[in-house]
């Protein structure tokens, strides 16, 4: 170094070496997360990977049966009752909320569908899938984008099915929905 007011190129080069990011102890992350939980600053629910979502979704889907009561049927009996399927996808953008809040929202959404005279049923799915290859071999996968569940409805048109899907809490929580029309021959 010298006593010039500005850093020389050689000095800048040495400072550059001090500019590299440093990874802290790997345990620091957990300590920070635990401290935030103790302060009540982050949810104790840990996202779509955890059981809370499944409970929330189960409660919400159970509500379908409670809310629409006798107009739901078992899939075997009611195949022809439905004409659209809403396939619910989840990826890293999916961030579920408090189970009670989700329950209230799904209940409200389903009640609204029922009031339109539309029948609805649905089922939550486990995150992992089992694929059968053409040779019969089985592959278990856990993809970044996965099917979290589905609803089946008897909408009067594709527009109505899309509108129902757009109002679904699933989109609000960062999930995506594929609207599929049944092939009825």
């Amino acid at each position: 170094m010298n006593n010039q007011e500005q850093l020389t190129p050689a000095e800048k080069e040495v400072f550059e070496a001090l500019r590299q990011p440093v990874q802290p102890d790997i345990q620091l992350e957990d300590r920070v997360v635990n401290a935030l939980k103790e302060e009540g600053l982050i949810s104790t629910h840990s996202g779509w990977r955890q059981w809370t979502l499944r409970i929330a979704a189960s409660i919400a889907l159970l509500a379908v049966g409670i809310i629409i009561g006798k107009i739901t049927y078992s899939p075997m009996e009611t195949t022809s009752q439905f004409n659209y399927m809403l396939v619910l996808y989840e990826d890293s953008r999916f961030t579920p909320s408090d189970p009670e809040e989700m329950f209230t929202e799904y209940s409200k959404w389903m009640t609204g569908i029922q009031e339109q005279g539309v029948t609805i049923d649905g089922q939550e799915m486990k995150p992992t899938s089992l694929f059968l290859e053409p040779d019969g071999s089985q592959v278990t996968t856990e993809n970044e984008r996965r099917v979290g569940g589905y609803f089946v409805i008897n909408a009067t048109s594709l527009d109505q099915a899309i509108k129902i899907a757009k109002n679904s809490p699933h989109l609000k929580y960062g999930g995506s929905i594929e609207v599929k029309e049944f092939m009825i021959r």
């Binding site: 170094m1 006593n3 400072f15 401290a35 939980k37 600053l41 982050i42 629910h45 996202g47």
Partner: protein, 181 residues
Amino acid sequence: MYSEKELTDQFVKSGSEEAFRALYRLKTPGLYRLALHLCRQDQYLAEEAVQEMWIIGVRKLKDFQWRSTLQTWLTSILINVIRSQQRKHPKQQDDFEKSIQGKENVEIPAVFTAYDLREGISRLPDGYQQVIILHDIEGYTHKEIGEMLNINEGTSKSQLFQARKAVRTYLSEKHIKPHQS
């Protein structure tokens, strides 16, 4: 790869652990480096400071207006946390001004290592150390440093000049040999 704004929005919206961890992993390495420099390479103090920074930051994140980058905002919080630590155990400054008086033309080794430089910086009094780290390592302007440290730009410039002089004096007086590579 999400931007810091997207990750922040996701976390503010969901309050989820997963969203926070993503934000933590994006921002912590750079901030931890700064904490280590400001804590004179004391790993324990640096980790304490980073943890406290995140607690304060998360508490205030909903009100963050994006008038600066998230990095700058978190840096300000981190500096305040560390200054608070340092106020409890201030580094003596009594002889600092005296120690660099008349050291205008010291003979400086042509080459020195990052370790030598870090050692020289760690010997500075707190305020001078903060300015040289924020300016010469982190790349902040005197205006930004002034806002972070609550000093005026002139003070920042003056302290940077004195800090560089002190570090150069340290390197000279320690007779550091040119680095042979």
